[in-house]
Amino acid sequence: MSSDTKFHVHHDAPEVVGRRERLGVRILIVADASFVFAMVFSYFYLRNLNTNGGWIPKDGHTFSVASGWVVVLPLIVGAILHKIGQRNLKTIGTISIITLVVYLYGLYYQIHQIMNMPFIVKDTGGFEGAYASSWVLIAGANAFHYIIASFLALGLVIRARRANVDPTLEKWRMRTAASWFTWIAISGVICAITTGIM
């Protein structure tokens, strides 16, 4: 935060503002968790229903279990790195850069997977079955999580290099970002477990 804005609109203490922001993000995480729940519910619902044997049709393609975990790994590493950075504020600038790179790599890998998914029917351009449909939705949600995480990590990198930010409020904002990073790592693990059960 620049020196001009040390005077928050409500003139509340940075701790109060920070705690409030973290609360807001946690409530938004509830909404996102509901989104993830709906995707996982849909995945298992369609899998168990297997309408007309169309979950994974004969000769249908799937992603390996490992590929799901490879996508999730940067989410977990990013969350851990951020936690380490929080403990030692002197290194936060460097650690934030590494976190950003990790998230960007995860985003790239997820998009690469989506662009090269094997289950598009060549004649129609449509999807092979319900597994393929559910997979792409989950992959899209992962990509969305990566985009938000990259934005936050980039902000933390830039702000760590500015001398005029309020250190107390910044510390709270890192905690707020940590809430999101931790949640998307958990969500990633849930999604990896889900797509691993074919």
Binding site: G24, I27, A33, L49, G53, P57, G129, A130
Partner: protein
């Protein structure tokens, strides 16, 4: 707490006139939004020899254009300046924040990205009025066509679209009808806060919602939506391009709801005045918070179902296509997991408004505050366990019909508690029969009818007969319109003096109240009769045996319509020429009545300290 104005004047600050935020408004938003939408459509529209694939590409381009309109508008109005400035480490200055709060900008601030919660409240109010007006006009067209069998007022396809668009327009309007205007304008003052927890998110929730309105309206020009507001798959997959507008509207609206829900909840949890312990929080605030806390996890499931529908329509995924492993039941589940809590997202704030009103106008404390809170929480908690009662007749898991019937009927218990609290408060009181108080009596009757008819529908054997009939339509109108909308209108009459500085024209208010309430009974009791006799809903034509009931319903609809026109006149006329309101015209004890009109930018000159509950009018009724 130091007020913004005092600390701003105490230090040198840059001139915000040099800032980009001073140059942006709804006009620039409109321009950028349209440019984004047109550019996106032209970029993505493509041709393909296969008409099926060409149609999918067209749908993709349309959907993308609708989302880009929304994003473009938000860019153009300046919604992303805050996040951008955060990203680059140059936070908004105090003066820029003051400018964003709309200080001293008069009527212009209503067309800007204004962060003042009072401005956002008024924006929501007019948004609600507009949506109710459009939805109401569609209802009048539907009823006009149904006035006699074989009605030719509109064609069958237009009728189909009207039913769906009326439904979704009204649902959106009703979700925001109380929490939008009063949750934003009044609630922060009620809890003694200077503003909402996240003023920029507050503005964002309104303007995101605003961008959904033209998208929804565009459905008219894209062939309408033939699916009803439930948009069941696979109908929605096969529907024409107008369906894209529906999908985009829901997704945009879900974003707005999540943002608003997070903001309202955080505000109530974190920004209550000193001394405002949880048992001193006004009951409207409790109701609104429970409502948005229910909406936050409920709407994402609807969002997921809409994303799936969009993917099925544009990329030929198979979520709902049984040929490739999909299932229509999946849509029904996702929709109703949201759909039933959504009923209470609508209902609870309206009822909470009335509970706020009763103690003031009978000069008695709220009978069992704890009972009211438990009632609201019980309704919210049970509402997530009842969704499959909408699917009794779908053939999904008949063995679960019994358990879902039980959970549904259990909702009667917390609902009964709400009734008990209202009646207990009225008991031995001497009601001051002003306009807001009339809404309480109307609610008690309407909710009684709506609630009891709901028990029949929750009952599997009775639902077997009544499902899909006009009876269902009459039932949910009794609860949503008869209870929730009545509560919101009573709230408007109650808080009108605080929001406008003037009294609502009482005579016109009474005329509109009686027209609406008498018309309402005529309209929906007629509909109950037709439904009980077997008339299906959502049909453009019907057998002559239902003619009398339908004619009566249409007469009732015109009475209701006339009543709302009178109410609109009363609102507009009173806003401009009404009697100047005193600071506390009702002698109420909650905090919003301790501030003058116009309410100062930060609401209170000195932070209030709460020492008692807001309903201490006399002895509690035992």
């Amino acid at each position: 707490m130091t007020t913004l104005s005092s600390h701003v004047s105490s230090r040198p600050i840059p001139n915000p006139k040099n800032s980009l935020i001073t140059k942006l408004n709804a006009g620039t938003g409109l321009i950028v939004g349209v440019v984004f939408a047109v550019a996106t459509y032209n970029l993505l529209k493509g041709e393909n020899e296969d008409p099926g694939i060409a149609y999918n590409i067209h749908n993709r381009a349309l959907l993308a254009a609708m989302f880009m309109w929304s994003i473009g508008f938000l860019v153009g109005i300046g919604a992303f300046i805050g996040p951008w400035r955060w990203l680059i480490g140059k936070d908004l200055t105090a003066e820029e924040q003051l400018y964003l709060a709309g200080d001293g900008q008069g009527i212009k601030r209503y067309f800007k990205y204004c962060t003042d919660h009072k401005v956002v409240g008024i924006q929501y109010l007019w948004g609600v009025i507009t949506l109710l007006g459009v939805g109401g006009a569609m209802a009048m067209m539907i009823r006009t066509n149904l006035a006699a069998p074989g009605g030719h007022f509109i064609t069958a396809s237009v009728y189909n679209s009207l039913v769906g668009l009326h439904g979704i327009t009204m649902i959106i309007a009703m979700i925001i009808v109380a929490t939008g205007p009063f949750g934003n304008y009044i609630m922060p003052i009620m809890i003694g806060a200077a503003d909402m927890a996240f003023p920029r998110l507050n503005a964002l929730s309104w303007w995101v919602l605003f961008t959904a309105i033209p998208v929804l309206c565009s459905a008219w020009f894209l062939g309408g939506i033939p699916t009803g507001w439930t948009a069941y798959a696979p109908l929605s997959i096969q529907a024409g391009p107008g369906m894209n507008a529906f999908i985009a509207t829901i997704i945009i609206f879900a974003v707005s709801t999540a943002v608003a829900g997070s903001n309202i909840t955080a505000t109530v949890i974190a920004m209550r005045a000193k001394g405002m312990t949880w048992n001193r929080v006004p009951i409207f605030v409790i109701g609104a918070t429970i409502s948005v806390a229910l909406a936050v996890p409920a709407f994402p499931t609807f969002m997921v179902s809409m994303i799936m529908t969009a993917l099925d329509r544009t990329y030929m995924t198979g979520f709902f296509d049984a040929n490739i492993g999909g299932s229509g039941w999946l849509y029904a589940h996702l929709f109703w997991i949201m759909g039933h809590p959504e009923v209470y997202v609508i209902l609870i704030p309206g009822v909470a408004v009335l509970m706020e009103i009763v103690p003031v106008f009978v000069r008695m404390p709220l009978f069992s505050y704890i009972g009211a809170v438990v009632g609201f929480a019980g309704i919210a908690g049970l509402s997530i366990l009842v969704w499959a009662h909408h699917m009794y007749m779908s053939g999904w898991m008949p063995m679960l019909n019994g358990p879902f019937m039980v959970t549904t009927e259990m909702i009667s218990i917390p609902t009964g508690l709400i009734f008990l609290v209202m009646l207990g408060t009225l008991w031995h009181g001497k009601p001051w029969l002003k306009l807001p108080m009339l809404g309480v009596y109307a609610f008690l009757w309407n909710m009684l009818v709506g609630g009891i008819t709901g028990i029949y529908l929750s009952d599997v054997p009775a639902d077997n007969y009544l499902h899909g009939s006009m009876y269902v339509t009459a039932h949910f109108h009794y609860t949503l319109m008869g209870a929730a909308l009545t509560g919101a209108v009573a709230g408007l009459a109650y808080w009108f003096p605080k929001m406008t500085g003037r009294m609502l024209n009482e005579r016109a208010g009474y005329v509109s109240f009686w027209l609406i309430q008498i018309g309402f009974q005529v309209l929906y009791l007629g509909m109950f009769t037709a439904g009980a006799e077997g008339q299906p809903r959502r049909v453009v034509n019907y057998a002559s045996q239902f003619a009398t009931a339908n004619r009566i319903s249409t007469v009732g609809a015109y009475l209701v319509g006339t009543g709302f026109v009178v109410l609109l006149w009363a609102v507009v006329h009173s806003w401009r020429h009404g009697k100047i309101a005193p600071m506390n015209p009702w002698g109420a004890k909650s905090l919003e009545w301790t501030v003058p009109y116009p309410v100062p930018l930060v609401n209170f000159d000195t932070p209030p300290v709460v020492t008692s509950d807001p309903y201490g009018y006399g002895k509690a009724v035992k």
